[in-house]
């Protein structure tokens, strides 16, 4: 069973894990993910591979504790073992030298975009990273991004850090100022990705979104991850997770991701209760 080698708390809700998974560390490319299962009773959930160290054989996962499984993971510590980690899954990001690439990360989407920004930089792009979060304490990876991006623009919804506003406001500003943008790629909450697509659509800027549908196997066997792209149904785990943002039906994705909202609540409440029981 893969072991957690290192855990870092990034903020109240977000933790970074380095997990021993040598084969995945060696193989993974930017844009790919793993599916994990914490224990025998666990569910299978996809998590982006934020980074990897092939020498040490570790992969990095950045996890926001939202539902039961992610909170449970965030309560684990270095030395703990995870029942299953499988990957790398999904298609790697198509990387080339587009020229000026703008990479957009909203909230936890930043963790998804981090390795992609790096790969774009390595391929010779000028990379502008637009980093956004609800509030300052939820911003992640600022220093890491500043380490290699040509520019990092920051915004928060509440104005507690950087510009007040949404990532799309910053992007719009850049476009209006006449900056030449050749490629946009982003990840974040679904409304953000939808807004991103609408921001670039009128200007015909090639835009890619990394989608986060519900998954089970992650190998194309079940169809849980169906998304509508143009007129076609795609399986995000094998055909994606990245698609042409101008073609994606984000409303459908939003609805489908709420399929188990009731069950998620039950599971979380039960977990929190059990935790309380354990602590007191």
């Amino acid at each position: 069973m893969p072991e957690i080698v290192k855990k870092t708390i990034l903020n109240r809700d977000v933790c970074r894990f380095e997990i021993m998974a040598p084969r995945i560390a060696e193989k993974r490319k930017a844009g790919q993910f793993v599916i994990i299962r914490l224990h025998e009773h666990g569910e299978r959930i996809p998590l982006t591979i934020a980074d990897a160290d092939p020498e040490r054989g570790t992969i990095t996962l950045i996890v926001q504790g939202v539902g039961k499984t992610t909170r449970e993971l965030n309560n684990m510590k270095a030395g703990d073992k995870i029942a299953d980690v499988v990957g790398p899954l999904g298609r790697p990001t198509h990387i080339e030298n587009f020229g000026h690439s703008v990479v957009v990360g909203g909230g936890l989407g930043t963790a998804v975009m981090y390795p992609i920004a790096r790969a774009l930089k390595d391929a010779g792009n000028r990379v502008t990273f637009i980093l956004g979060a609800r509030t300052r304490s939820l911003l992640i990876l600022e220093d890491e991004l500043k380490g290699f991006c040509d520019e990092v623009k920051i915004c928060t919804d509440d104005g507690s850090y950087g510009k007040k506003g949404f990532v799309t406001d910053l992007l719009k500003e850049m476009i209006e100022e006449g900056e030449k943008i050749d490629f946009v790629i982003g990840a974040g909450p679904i409304p953000m990705m939808k807004a991103l697509a609408e921001t670039t659509r009128p200007h015909g800027i090639k835009t890619v979104a990394s989608l986060n549908p519900i998954m089970v196997d992650g190998t194309g066997m079940c169809g849980a991850c169906r998304v509508l792209v143009g007129e076609e149904t795609k399986f995000a785990c094998v055909d994606g997770p990245e698609f042409d943002a101008h073609q994606v039906d984000f409303d459908l994705l939003w609805k489908r991701n709420r399929a188990y909202i009731k069950q998620e609540k039950i599971a979380l409440e039960r977990y929190l209760k059990m935790q309380q029981g354990a602590t007191f």
């Binding site: 193989k27 569910e43 499988v86 089970v216 196997d217 194309g220 066997m221 169809g223 399929a259």
Partner: protein, 476 residues
């Protein structure tokens, strides 16, 4: 252990087919326990007396792996149950499984001479009985291993095809590693076929036996992603590879509304329930949509499994919508009967045309159209044709699409030198399982399209023999 009784043919013919004791339908839809309870030794010996020991037994020709059927039945009649299971295991490694899931009514039992005037001998029930006897009494013997050959074989996929190859080659002295994409080995036997039809502990036992023999099973390893076949052969020193990855890409109907919440592929629904144990949510983390009325679309084993699983997951009403009539349904007769006894409502000659949802994107009804049967198609079954003006809606909150699978391209995309046909199935020499790539063999559903457990095992056996020969002689 006795002698075979000296009964006349007439006396044998007088014995009725011994029914299999089963859980009561009203009770069993409240649990996931196995439905048929198995023969007692008395019932088994009685049933065995019905066999006429035909000199040129037609039943054997009906069996894809040619089990010596009268041979093992004779042993049962003599009370030598262990002897019986040994006869079977000469050609069929997993009788506890095939005894439960083989389509006997189309194979051995369809050919049995008794079937012409009476009911055929219950060959499947007898096979199951002796295999259970052996396992439940801890009499399974670990077969001997030949001395090590110093060669390594990679088996991709831990379904019946892959498990058979591994079992045969480990005994021959090869080092065998199975690479499995999921977190549990077994293939369809664990993620598809439900507990109430094939208890997972039985599959587990077979897998443990393989591990005891020395087979290494690596789960969470997606060949094509975690490593490619070329990497396994060139970098990791595997001398031969067997591909048994099954048919794992679900078909949908391609009708409007198919992406509504509540429309599942059978693969997803069954995986959630069988592999992930969603029926024990929230004790297990994987959920299912809460639902009262479920429509299953299809007429095969998968559809029956989905319908019966749906009943056990608490649905009040389960419809099974099939576009042809009962006669054409490809499922095992026993499963159709079980589904019916349990209260699944069959809606024949009917096909969905649209899924209808509410504002939240949740399924609320399926719109269907009546069909009539026209001329026979390539499969020999009469082709269903829609009858205009007969559309109506059935109110459901979950729909499970169980109309089949095609081959999953994930692995083969990374191995362009393995030839496939237009459906994406691997092309092999049926006598050896050889693919177009040197050192690589294949069998089971990835070659045949959706077929059966016994055919997958048969393919495994053929390939194992050919792999052995190839590794001994080096000749391709």
């Amino acid at each position: 252990m006795g002698e075979r009784k000296k009964l006349s043919t007439k006396e044998r013919l007088k014995i009725p087919r011994q029914p299999m004791p089963e859980q009561d339908p009203h009770e069993r839809i409240k649990n996931f326990r196995e439905v048929p309870l198995g023969y007692t030794p008395e019932l088994a010996m009685k049933e065995a007396q019905r066999c006429l020991q035909c000199p040129d037994p037609p039943c054997v020709k009906g069996c894809p792996v040619e089990i010596d059927i009268p041979g093992f039945i004779k042993k049962i009649e003599e009370g030598d149950f262990l002897g019986a299971v040994r006869v079977i295991k000469k050609t069929n490694l997993l009788p506890a499984i095939t005894g439960r899931v083989c389509p006997q009514d189309e194979q051995c039992e369809a050919e049995c001479v008794l079937g012409k005037k009476f009911k055929p001998v219950a060959i499947g029930n007898l096979e199951r009985f002796v295999a259970d006897y052996e396992r439940e009494n801890n009499l399974i013997e670990i077969p001997p291993r030949e001395s090590p050959k110093g060669k390594k074989v990679a088996v991709i996929g831990a379904g019946p095809a892959g498990l058979t190859v591994a079992a045969d080659l480990i005994q021959k002295g090869y080092e065998v590693t199975i690479f499995e994409a999921l977190h549990k080995p077994g293939g369809v036997l664990v993620y598809g076929i439900p507990e109430f039809r094939l208890p997972k502990s039985i599959v587990q036992k077979e897998i443990e036996l393989l591990e005891k023999l020395g087979v290494e099973i690596v789960t969470d390893f997606v060949v094509g992603k975690t490593a490619t076949i070329d990497e396994l052969m060139e970098k990791e020193g595997y001398d031969a590879v067997f591909i048994g990855i099954g048919a794992g890409l679900p078909w949908f109907l391609n009708i409007p509304g198919e992406n509504l919440i509540g429309v599942y592929s059978a693969n997803e629904y069954l995986t959630r329930v069988n592999l992930m144990k969603a029926y024990m949510f929230p004790d297990y983390d994987t959920p299912l949509i809460e639902s009262r009325r479920i429509a299953v679309i299809g007429g095969g084993n998968t559809a029956m499994d989905a319908a019966r699983t749906a009943l056990r997951s608490g649905a009040e009403k389960v419809y099974l919508i099939y576009r042809r009539s009962r006669k054409e349904m490809p499922a095992r007769t026993e499963e159709i009967a079980h589904a019916e006894e349990e209260g699944v409502e069959f809606v024949f000659l009917t096909n969905p045309v649209e899924f209808i949802g509410d504002e939240e994107g949740r399924l609320k009804a399926v719109r269907v159209i009546k069909m009539q049967l026209g001329e026979p198609d390539e499969s020999g079954r009469r082709r269903p044709i829609p009858v205009p003006g007969t559309e109506y809606e059935i109110e459901v909150d979950t729909a499970i699409v169980a109309i089949g699978n095609s081959s999953n391209p994930l692995l083969l995309q990374t191995t362009p030198d393995i030839e496939t046909n237009k459906w994406g199935n691997i092309i092999v020499d049926p006598a050896t399982g050889k693919t177009s790539k040197k050192g690589v063999f294949a069998g089971g559903d990835i070659v045949r399209g959706e077929a059966t457990v016994i055919l997958a095992m048969g393919d495994g056996r053929v390939a194992a023999r050919a792999i052995d020969e190839y590794l001994q002689t080096g000749k391709w």
